[in-house]
């Protein structure tokens, strides 16, 4: 800490006596050693767990992805990168990428703006505000499996609740087989996703909105700004960091989507709602082709990792400035 503080102040930095090399002062060296021991002591259990439960499985997955292996006995049939080249010609896997992209796009264009809209509404003084907040947040608290079972009943092809309601209000024309038709399944799936997760993004936005000082809006009002201008020039820019985080969570969530799809459609009909995670599960657990399943999981990991790093580097940079970045820059 001391040296960093010193580095931050050029005047002090130039002072030669403070730049004594390591070990120059035995008392300080002892103190540093002690501090190191304490840090090591606190860190070891977490590092061991992290290594065993996170790093080791990733390593094992990479290792297995180079074998053709049915999961029984030790893997012996080394095939190099064949599992990865196979992916390039695998219609289902390429379809997974397209469908993942579609879900991300829909999330960003429909789900997040919707969440923001509701958050802005619920940030105003109104009767029953807490009740509405709870109401909209409730779907997020349900488990994915319960949501899946619930909607597979609601969206049942013939006499599901959705179709019955449509019939009751005279909208028979809008009735659909929802999850049972390759052409409608992705939209139905997105609807369920949207219902499930918009409350979560709404809560994040609400928290962000509450961090915006009221004075700014009051000043804008005095200056005669319309509501829309105030939203566009005050709310939105100040909500930037929150929005960037929510976009990040949304994209990662779409890449790892599994449970909801599995319960709703198992990836069908004929793979038209399959995601990478579902394909991975199919090969790993149903077809006993662990090597290929592992290769898919490695690709998912790399996609997430590259996205996360790029996003941190280019988008989240401003938000984390002064926390991580400046410390490194000044060292």
């Amino acid at each position: 800490m001391t040296s960093q503080l010193a580095a931050a102040r050029p005047g002090v930095d130039a002072d030669p006596p403070l730049r004594a090399g390591p070990g120059g002062d035995p008392r300080r060296a002892r103190r540093r050693l002690k501090a190191f021991a304490v840090i090591a002591g606190y860190l070891t259990p977490a590092l061991v767990l992290f290594g065993l439960l996170v790093l080791a499985p990733i390593g094992v997955a990479i290792y297995l992805s180079t074998y053709k292996w049915n999961g029984l006995g030790p893997p012996t049939n080394f095939i190099g990168l064949d599992n990865y080249t196979r992916m390039l010609g695998d219609e289902v896997f390429l379809g997974d990428l397209r469908r993942g992209g579609l879900l991300i796009l829909l999330s960003l264009v429909i789900q997040l703006p919707l969440s923001l809209f509701i958050a802005v509404l619920l940030n105003r003084r109104m009767r029953g505000r807490a009740f509405y907040r709870l109401l909209f947040f409730a779907p997020y608290m349900l488990s994915e499996v319960i949501t899946g079972v619930l909607f597979s009943l609601i969206l049942a092809p013939e006499d599901g609740l959705a179709n019955q309601i449509l019939a009751a209000v005279g909208l028979e024309a809008l009735q659909s087989s929802w999850l049972s038709e390759p052409s409608t399944v992705m939209m139905s799936l997105f609807m369920v996703m949207c219902w499930k997760y918009f409350g979560f993004h709404m809560i994040i936005y609400l928290a962000g909105l509450q961090g915006i000082p009221k004075e700014l809006h009051e000043a804008a009002e005095i200056d005669g700004a319309t509501r829309w201008r105030a939203f566009w020039h005050i709310t939105l820019p100040l909500l930037g960091p929150t929005i960037r985080i929510s976009v990040f969570l949304s994209v990662i969530g779409a890449i790892q989507l599994f449970d909801l799809v599995w319960v709703l459609t198992s990836g069908g009909p004929i793979h038209s709602s399959e995601t990478m995670a579902v394909t991975m599960f199919q090969f790993g657990f149903k077809r006993a082709n662990i090597g290929y399943g592992a290769a898919i999981s490695v690709v998912m990991f790399l996609l997430s990792l590259i996205f996360a790093l790029a996003y941190q580097r280019f988008v989240l940079r401003r938000d984390t400035e002064g926390a991580i970045t400046t410390m490194r820059d000044q060292r």
Partner: protein, 431 residues
């Protein structure tokens, strides 16, 4: 941050947890190792899929009886739902362990487990009582002359139909040939009745059609040979797909069948049980599922075997189906086999048959079948000229799943009969 991290963690945790379970029994197995008569405390872990009545309480009762007679043995009875069981067993077997006794359907999966040295060879240990079982019931568990499983149920797939609907559509006799069958479908449609219920979300119910057509057209031996040669491109297999396409083109299935499950309250079984479709191609458990998830048809329910195909090479009374059995883990204590014998003896199995829970696997057991529908199944089975195990069980998992997948695509209209034959062949060759 990423799924693979999360999934890897889940996988690792699941493996650890499951390995923990089975590891526990392994230790106990060692403790008991060979000293079965020593009277030391032994735990036998038994994974089965009997989560529904009447088998659930029947097995629980048998466990109590056995434990009362053998105070030193604890039977840990673990009923697990079918799909969950498969996923769970896959995970433990990958860690090189198995429960002491576990449900198996024989075929390709059991063969892989046997090849990995995970399953006990019961040929000599059970030689005296294996002779009581019918050859058809045992066939799924036998490889190169050795027996690796004890059957407790055997059944076959056939058409379950609603007599009232057939009468309403003016169908006087059950169809004997594929042409008659297609005719019946047309008549039912004309009468405003959904001809067939199908759970398209789960792909296995659909593969029955292709498998039976392949059996009728190409014959049992050709089907077995195809698996050996990894070649399903022979014209007969393409014809099987083409015949199925003839049926699909009549649009015989209920609305939204591609998304329908089998055993849920709006799935294939429920649609049949609630009288909303005239027939379904399903195994001997169909009446139970129809009643569990729907109202059940009572006396209106009938059964007829899969029709023959004109000019086909297969025998018209070859049966397609499978059963259920139990395999014993390679390291299981001797008590595991003893308990298995206890639940597989004549009294026990005959009681289970009388309850209508299973069909007879013991020679001459047909007379125990009370239910008229199941009696027809048991009789048909007893007189079957040949027997083919479900294709998704008989073949290695990847090939079996490809059969299910491709046939599902054919039924959905996105694959041609040629492409189905091609896709199955490609997967078989890559195994």
């Amino acid at each position: 941050m990423s799924l693979s991290r999360r999934s890897a963690m889940i996988l690792a945790a699941a493996t650890l947890a499951l390995a923990g379970c089975s590891g526990g029994q392994g230790d106990k197995g060692e403790a008991a190792g060979g000293a079965s008569s020593g009277g030391g405390k032994v735990t036998v872990e038994w994974w089965n899929i009997s989560t529904a009545e009447p088998l659930k309480s029947f097995w629980a009762k048998k466990v109590k009886e056995y434990q009362a007679a053998h105070p030193n043995v604890t039977i840990k009875n673990v009923p697990i739902e079918n799909e969950a069981f498969k996923a769970k067993l896959t995970t433990v077997t990958q860690s090189g362990k198995t429960p002491d006794i576990f449900t198996t359907w024989g075929g390709g999966v059991l063969k892989q487990q046997v090849d990995a040295g995970l399953v006990k060879d019961l040929s000599s240990e059970a030689a005296t009582w294996l002779a009581d079982f019918t050859p058809a019931a045992l066939s799924a568990y036998q490889f190169s002359g050795k027996t690796y499983g004890i059957p407790h149920d055997i059944g076959m797939v056939g058409f379950w139909y609603n007599k009232a609907h057939f009468a309403k559509a003016g169908i006087t006799d059950t169809p004997k040939t594929w042409t008659e069958f297609l005719d019946a479908v047309k008549k039912l449609k004309a009468a405003g009745i959904t001809p067939i219920a199908l759970g398209g979300k789960e792909k296995w119910p659909g593969h029955y059609y292709w498998a039976y057509l392949a059996m009728r057209i190409a014959g049992l031996d050709a089907l077995k040979q195809a698996a050996v040669d990894d070649d399903f491109t022979k014209p007969d297999f393409v014809t099987a797909g083409a015949k199925l396409k003839e049926l699909v083109d009549l649009q015989p299935f209920q609305k939204g069948f591609l998304g329908a499950a089998y055993g849920t309250n709006n799935g294939q079984g429920a649609i049949m049980g609630n009288g909303k479709a005239a027939m379904e191609l399903m195994g001997q458990w169909a009446p139970i599922t129809q009643k569990d998830n729907g109202k059940g048809l009572g006396d209106d329910l009938g059964f007829f075997p899969f029709p023959s195909v004109e000019g086909g090479k297969g025998q018209p009374n070859d049966a397609f189906g499978g059963g259920g059995g139990y395999a014993v883990g390679a390291n299981a204590p001797a008590e595991a086999v003893d308990f298995l014998r206890f639940i597989s003896n004549k009294d026990s199995l005959s009681e289970a048959v009388k309850m209508g829970a299973v069909l007879p696997v013991l020679k001459g057991g047909e007379s125990d079948v009370k239910d008229p529908n199941l009696s027809v199944v048991a009789q048909t089975l007893a007189s079957a000229s040949g027997f083919q195990l479900y294709l998704d069980q008989a073949y290695p998992p990847a090939v079996g799943q490809e059969v299910n997948d491709s046939v599902a695509a054919l039924i959905a209209g996105s694959k041609t009969p040629e492409q189905v034959a091609q896709a199955i062949t490609e997967t078989a060759k890559s195994e």
